[in-house]
């Protein structure tokens, strides 16, 4: 009786092991599959032309920012598709603000274009999917003029007043952006996507008043270095 039980246990163990062997692929099988998939994707990559078309895009975040606050930007871009892998991109925008601070009685007004140029890289394994995951960078530049209005300042010691306003003060800004984002095909040529951006100032000329407050395309001084876009993209 005891011998029979042991035999049953051994038989069951062998049966379960065999089943597991058929279900779980061996490491050798996995690497074979991966290699086959790699080969398929490589052949697919090789078979498609370098130039895969281009798309135009418009950012919605800047529009919302402009609608709900006193600064924001209109931004659109053109993106080339090279082998579904590399995406050289040009983005052009118009940044505007007309801000008045009632506490300090200071008004700041500017409206100027800006431009960004850079490349996105699709880092998904399957580059030809309807989803894309990008990382990339931008170099951005704007040259702008701003008006700063403030009532004349009363001198607390000597008395009298001194003017503290400036019109058409010239300034410029160079900055870089690190980009990470996704886009997905929604229907037909329409894609929707978002990108998160980390901005760093490279060089700047603040003009004659010591500082600038809002820089078209870059945003407010003292604001966060993080930004983002929500893009409506149309493949052409």
């Amino acid at each position: 009786m005891h011998f029979q039980r042991i035999s049953m246990f051994i038989l069951r163990s062998i049966a379960i092991s065999l089943m597991l062997l058929t279900i779980l692929p061996s490491p050798a099988q996995t690497s074979k599959k991966e290699a086959a998939e790699k080969l398929r994707l490589k052949q697919l990559d090789d078979s498609i032309p370098l130039f895969r078309g281009f798309s135009v895009k418009a950012d919605v975040v800047g529009l919302i920012q402009k609608a709900v606050s006193d600064y924001g930007q209109y931004e659109a871009g053109l993106k080339l598709n090279l082998k579904d892998k590399y995406f050289p991109v040009i983005e052009l925008g118009l940044g505007q603000t007309n801000h008045q601070d009632i506490t300090t009685n200071t008004s700041y007004k500017t409206s100027a274009p800006y431009g960004k140029i850079g490349v996105d890289f699709n880092i998904l394994k399957n580059k030809h999917d309807i989803y894309r995951f990008y990382v990339g960078f931008r170099y951005a530049f704007t040259s702008f003029k701003f008006d700063l209005d403030h009532p004349d300042v009363k001198d607390p010691v000597w008395g009298g007043t001194a003017p503290f306003s400036g019109q058409n003060i010239s300034a410029n800004y160079h900055w870089g952006e690190l980009v990470a984002g996704i886009d997905a095909k929604i229907v037909g040529p329409l894609h929707l996507g978002w990108s998160a951006r980390y901005k760093r100032r490279i060089a700047h000329n603040d003009g004659t008043m010591g500082n600038v407050w809002y820089v078209p395309g870059f945003g407010k001084q003292g604001g966060t270095r993080l930004g983002g876009t929500f893009d409506v993209i149309i493949d052409i």
């Binding site: 975040v61 200071t106 007043t161 997905a184």
Partner: protein, 161 residues
């Protein structure tokens, strides 16, 4: 279809997160918002034995005291006028009086719409009478929020009685 809906939901969530991130900001007004010229005694007299009183000529033509009877003066700070091209200072040591004229350019200095305003200065020249004073030298011509630099070295005569 389900996948697209899920993706659209995550896009909306990301958009909201980005808007919240983009709305973060801080006010970076300078902690030290006074602009003063720093003077230091140099030469043979680095510490005055007489009390030092400094007054100035106001915008309306009256005098006003800026520094009242400072004892054992070695260094001191004085405000600068916001808009005058030249500040006139009267240095009185004991009974002796000297007049100092500081010529300067005034630069409105803007930090942010959230902060107060102030003026920076560039000293372009200095003249003085030589009763108790021997000379005054411009060491740092830019006068800003930076409180550390000594802008003027003041040399008093050793034997002034």
């Amino acid at each position: 279809m389900r996948q697209v809906r899920h993706h659209q939901k995550s896009l909306v969530a990301m958009l909201f997160t980005m808007l919240v991130m983009a709305s973060c900001s801080s006010v970076d007004c300078p902690l030290n918002n006074t602009v003063s010229a720093n003077f230091q005694l140099e030469g043979n007299v680095t510490k005055l034995t007489d009390v030092l009183t400094i007054s100035t000529l106001l915008h309306n033509g009256n005098d006003s005291i800026l520094l009242n009877q400072l004892q054992s003066a070695q260094k001191f700070s004085l405000p600068m006028s916001y808009g005058q091209d030249e500040d006139v200072l009267f240095f009185q040591t004991g009974t002796i009086k000297d007049t100092v004229w500081i010529a300067k350019e005034n630069h409105p200095h803007f930090v942010s719409v959230d902060c107060g305003v102030n003026f920076f200065h560039t000293v372009t020249g200095i003249r003085y009478t030589r009763n108790a004073l021997d000379s005054i030298v411009i060491n740092q011509k830019e006068i800003t929020y930076d409180a550390l630099p000594t802008h003027f070295y003041v040399y008093f005569k050793e034997y002034r009685y």
